[in-house]
C-alpha cells in the first residue's frame, strides 16, 4: 500500500514533466520517440525518451555555440548573433529543475547548511509556531463544523513554508499573502485572540467584521489585509517594493501565492513589472499540487513555476517546501539578493495541500486518499523538522506536550472571548468606504436605520446600532 501510495504521489509531479506527451497526436513525433509505456497509475501513455528535436536544442548556450556566423544583428536591447541553422528552442529542459533541500526525511542534514546556522531559540520558536498553527487549524476547523464560524481554511501540510519563510525575514519586510499563510502572521506575533476575533468578525477584528473568516490583516505586523481574488496582491507587491527601493529601506516585499494563481494575468504582470522596474520583491509560490480540484497538470504545461522566472528575467529557485531548513535558507538568501541588488526573486516551493481547499470543499471527490496519506505521513514537514530539532537535543517530547496543552487552553479561551465580544456597530457598514462618509452613503445609512425601526424583528439582534 505504501509503495503504491509513494508511486502515485511521485506521479503528481512526474506527470507534469511528461504531460506534454499525453496529448501528443503527431505520429512522426511518436515514431521518433519509439518506446512508449503505459503509466499504470495515471492511465496515460507517456514516453520514456525525448524527441530528437528536443535533444538537439536543449540548451540555448549549446545550441548557438558553434553555429553562429561572424555577423550580429544590432537590435534594441543588445546585439543578437546570426545563425544559419533553423532550430526551435525546446519547450522544456531535458531534466526537471531540481529541488533544493537541506534535511533528509530522517531529520539529518544532507546538505551542509550554507547559511548562518539557526540558533536554538529561533529553531524552537519555529517548531512551536508550527505546532500552534496545527492546533489552530484543528480547533478552528472544528469550530466551523460546529457552526460557530462560517468558514475556515487550513495550512495543513504547508506549515514549513509560512513559518520558515517568516523566520528568514525581518519585521520591516512587507508581506502580501494569499490566504494560506497565517503562519507568517503567527510568527510575527499576531495573537490567538487576534486570529479568533477576525474569524468571529467581532469588534476586535481589525477588519471590522467585513470580510469572510481567514482574511487577516495587520498594519502593526506589516501584513497587508488578505483579499479573495487570486493574484491581485502580486502587482501591488511590486508597487510597494518600488516604494521601499525609492525610500532606500533595508527591506523587501514578500508575496505569497499558489500554483493556481500563476495562471492569473496579475502573476505575469507582476513578474514582468518587478523585473523591468527592478523591485526588491520575493515571489513565493506554494506549489501544493492542487487549486481546489484543478491539478497542476490541468494548470500549466511547463515544468512547474520556477521556469517561468527566467522568461521574465527573474532569478529563480525550486525548493522543497516541506523542508523547513531549505525554505529558511533560500528565503534568507533571496532577501539578501533582493535588497542588495534591487531585484525580484522567484521561489517555487514544492509542497502538498494535505487538507481540503477549505471547509466548503471535499477533496476526496477529486484525489485519492492514498496520495493524501503519503504526503501526510511520509513527507510531513513538521515530522522532519521535529527529528532535526530532537537530534539536536533542543526540544523534548515533554516540551512538545506542554506547549500543546498551553496552546489548546489559550485557543479555547480566545474562542470563548471572541464569541462573547460584541459585533461592530451598524455604522461600520458604511465607514471606510471613503476616508469620510459622503452624502450618498449618509443617505443610505439613514434609509437603513429607518427601515430597521419599521421592521425591528428582521434586524440581527447581535449587531449594535
Amino acid at each position: 500500500m505504501i509503495r503504491f501510495a509513494r508511486s502515485s504521489s511521485r506521479n503528481l509531479f512526474h506527470r507534469v514533466l511528461n504531460r506534454k506527451f499525453q496529448y501528443c497526436s503527431d505520429s512522426s513525433m511518436a515514431v521518433q520517440c519509439g518506446r512508449r509505456r503505459k503509466d499504470q497509475s495515471s492511465g496515460f501513455f507517456w514516453p520514456t525518451c525525448r524527441f530528437e528535436s528536443t535533444e538537439a536544442a536543449r540548451h540555448v548556450d549549446q545550441l548557438y555555440l558553434h553555429n553562429h556566423d561572424d555577423q550580429e544583428l544590432d537590435f534594441p536591447g543588445g546585439s543578437v548573433p546570426f545563425t544559419k541553422e533553423m532550430r526551435f528552442m525546446s519547450e522544456s529542459t531535458e531534466k526537471r529543475v531540481p529541488c533544493y533541500r537541506v534535511l533528509h526525511e530522517n531529520g539529518d542534514a544532507i546538505t551542509p547548511p550554507n547559511f548562518n546556522q539557526l540558533t536554538k531559540d529561533v529553531a524552537i520558536k519555529m517548531y512551536k509556531d508550527m505546532i500552534t498553527l496545527q492546533i489552530m487549524d484543528n480547533i478552528f476547523y472544528e469550530a466551523q463544523r460546529q457552526g460557530r464560524i462560517s468558514f475556515y481554511l487550513t495550512s495543513s501540510g504547508e506549515e514549513a513554508i509560512a513559518i520558515a519563510s517568516a523566520a528568514a525575514l525581518l519585521p520591516d519586510d512587507v508581506v502580501l499573502a494569499q490566504y494560506r499563510e497565517p503562519g507568517v502572521l503567527l510568527w510575527r506575533g499576531f495573537t490567538l485572540q487576534e486570529f479568533a476575533n477576525q474569524l468571529f468578525g467581532n469588534k476586535g477584528d481589525y477588519g471590522k467584521g467585513r470580510q469572510m473568516p481567514i482574511h487577516y490583516g495587520s498594519n502593526h505586523h506589516n501584513y497587508f489585509t488578505i483579499s479573495s481574488p487570486l493574484g491581485t496582491q502580486l502587482p501591488q507587491a511590486v508597487g510597494i517594493a518600488y516604494s521601499l527601493k525609492m525610500d532606500k529601506k533595508e527591506a523587501c516585499v514578500v508575496a505569497y501565492f499558489g500554483d493556481g494563481t500563476t495562471s492569473e494575468g496579475d502573476f505575469h504582470a507582476a513578474l514582468n513589472f518587478a523585473a523591468v522596474l527592478r523591485a526588491p520583491v520575493i515571489f513565493i509560490c506554494r506549489n501544493n499540487g492542487w487549486a481546489i480540484s484543478t491539478s497542476i497538470e490541468e494548470q500549466f504545461r511547463s515544468d512547474g513555476v520556477v521556469v517561468k522566472g527566467q522568461g521574465y528575467g527573474i532569478r529563480s529557485i525550486r525548493i522543497d517546501g516541506n523542508d523547513t531548513l531549505a525554505v529558511y535558507s533560500a528565503v534568507r538568501k533571496a532577501r539578501s539578493m533582493a535588497i542588495r541588488e534591487n531585484m525580484p526573486v522567484l521561489i517555487e516551493a514544492l509542497t502538498y495541500r494535505v487538507g481540503h481547499h477549505s471547509t466548503s470543499d471535499d477533496s476526496s471527490k477529486y484525489r485519492t486518499t492514498d496520495e493524501i496519506q503519503y504526503w501526510k505521513m511520509e513527507r510531513n514537514p513538521m515530522d522532519r523538522f521535529a527529528k532535526w530539532i530532537s537530534n539536536n537535543g533542543w526540544f523534548s517530547q515533554e516540551d512538545e506536550l506542554n506547549h500543546k496543552t498551553t496552546v489548546k487552553r489559550q485557543l479555547l479561551e480566545a474562542i470563548q472571548n471572541a464569541e462573547k465580544t460584541e459585533k461592530p456597530p451598524l455604522s461600520e457598514l458604511f465607514n471606510d468606504v471613503y476616508d469620510n462618509l459622503p452624502k450618498n452613503l449618509q443617505e443610505q445609512e439613514e434609509v437603513l436605520r429607518q427601515t430597521r425601526k419599521r421592521y425591528p424583528q428582521d434586524y440581527p439582534s447581535d449587531v449594535p446600532l
Binding site: F273, D432, V433, Y434
Partner: protein, 348 residues
C-alpha cells in the same frame, strides 16, 4: 496616434466652426492666467503635483517621452526617470502597481493610455483599489492613487478609441469618478484628485485636449470634488452633463435661447459621489431635466441621475409632471455627423 487625432480635430473644427470652452457665455472664461489648451493644463497640474510632493510618481505606457497626447511632456526630464517612467504595456499591472505604491503613502498617478483599454485593470480598480480601505478596517488605504485616462469620441476613433466607460466605475463604492470639461477645470480638478485621500478615476475628454482653450492660472489651485458647477443659469429646463458633452450642450443652450427657451446648464464634474443637491435645486426651479452623455443610454449614468431626481423632485411631491430626456452620442467613426443631429435633439 497623436497625429491622427490632430487630423480629427481639424475635421471637427470644420464641422463645428466654433471654440469649445464650455464656459457660461460661450466665450473664453477669464481666470487671469495664461491661455492654454486642455492637455497643457493637465501637464501643468502634473508638474505642480510632482513639484509640491516628493512622494508623487507619474507612470504608464509611453509617459516617459511625454505621452501620446503630450500630457506628460517634460516631467521625466525635470523630476527624473525614477519618478516619471514608462511601464510595460499591461493595464492591470499599471493599476496594481499604483495601488501598492499608493499604499505606502505615495501619490501614485497612473496613466491608462485610452479609457477603452482600462478594462484589463477593472479587477484591480473594482476589487482592490475601491475596497482597500474598507476591507482592512482602515488599516491600509490606497487613497493616493489617481488613474488618468483619455475618454470619449474624437470623430474617427471607432470602437476602441472613443468609449465613455464612466458608468462602469460609477457603480463602485470606494472610488471617485471625475471628468473635467475645460482646461481650467482639468487643472483644478486633477490636483484635487491627486491630493484626495481616495482612489480616483479621472477621465480626460481627449476631444478637447487641443480644441478647448481658456485662461488658466499658472499657480497651484484646486477645485472641489463632489460639487457640481452651474455654468449657465436658466428657468425653463435643466441640462446636466459632464466632460466633452458640455460643449455640445452649451451650443444647444445657445440655440434654444434664440427660440425663447431659457436653459440651466450644470456640469456634474464629479460623477461619484455626485452632487444631487445642486441638480435637485435646479430641477425644482425649472421642472424639466435633460441629461446627455456620450456613453450608451442603457445602464448609463444618466439613468442614475434620472432615477434619483425623479424620486426626489417628483415622486416625493406627488407630482406627475415628469419630463426627463436622455441623449447620447455614439462613437462610430462613420457617424460623426450625428453629433450635429444630437444638437438638434437637445434643442427639441
Amino acid at each position: 496616434m497623436a497625429s491622427v487625432l490632430r487630423r480629427s480635430q481639424t475635421v471637427l473644427n470644420s464641422l463645428c466652426r466654433r471654440q469649445f470652452s464650455a464656459s457660461p457665455d460661450g466665450n473664453l472664461t477669464t481666470h487671469a492666467g495664461k491661455s492654454m489648451n486642455l492637455y497643457s493644463a493637465i501637464n501643468q497640474a502634473l508638474h505642480i503635483a510632482l513639484e509640491t510632493d516628493p512622494r508623487a510618481y507619474v507612470f504608464g505606457e509611453d509617459v516617459g517621452f511625454g505621452g501620446v497626447f503630450r500630457c506628460t511632456t517634460g516631467l521625466a526630464d525635470r523630476y527624473g526617470k525614477d519618478r516619471v517612467f514608462n511601464t510595460p504595456l499591461c493595464e492591470q499591472g499599471i493599476v496594481g502597481f499604483g495601488i501598492g505604491l499608493a499604499a505606502m503613502g505615495n501619490r501614485a498617478i497612473a496613466e491608462i493610455q485610452f479609457a477603452d483599454y482600462i478594462y484589463p485593470a477593472f479587477d484591480q480598480i473594482v476589487n482592490e483599489a475601491a475596497k482597500f480601505r474598507y476591507r482592512s478596517g482602515n488599516q491600509f488605504n490606497c487613497g493616493g492613487l489617481t488613474i488618468r485616462a483619455p475618454y470619449g469620441a474624437v470623430g474617427h476613433g471607432g470602437h476602441y478609441h472613443s468609449q465613455s466607460p464612466e458608468a462602469f466605475f460609477c457603480h463602485v463604492p470606494g472610488i471617485k469618478v471625475v471628468i473635467p470639461r475645460s482646461p481650467y477645470q482639468a487643472k483644478g480638478l486633477l490636483l484635487s484628485c491627486i491630493r484626495d485621500e481616495n482612489p480616483v478615476v479621472f477621465f480626460e475628454p481627449k476631444w478637447l485636449y487641443r480644441l478647448a482653450v481658456e485662461e488658466v492660472p499658472e499657480d497651484d489651485f484646486m477645485l472641489p470634488l463632489s460639487q457640481a458647477d452651474v455654468i449657465r443659469e436658466g428657468s425653463d429646463i435643466t441640462l446636466v452633463g459632464w466632460g466633452a458633452q458640455l460643449s455640445v450642450m452649451e451650443q444647444a443652450c445657445i440655440d434654444a435661447e434664440k427660440e425663447g427657451i431659457s436653459c440651466e446648464l450644470i456640469d456634474l464634474r464629479t460623477l461619484l459621489p455626485w452632487d444631487k443637491e445642486t441638480v435637485e435645486a435646479s430641477v425644482r426651479k425649472t421642472g424639466r431635466l435633460l441629461i446627455s452623455h456620450e456613453a450608451p443610454v442603457t445602464g448609463g449614468f444618466g439613468a442614475e441621475i434620472s432615477a434619483s431626481i425623479v424620486e426626489r423632485c417628483f415622486l416625493r411631491q406627488g407630482e406627475q409632471n415628469i419630463n426627463v430626456l436622455h441623449v447620447v452620442r455614439p462613437f462610430s467613426s462613420l457617424h460623426n455627423p450625428i453629433h450635429i443631429l444630437l444638437l438638434c435633439l437637445c434643442i427639441d
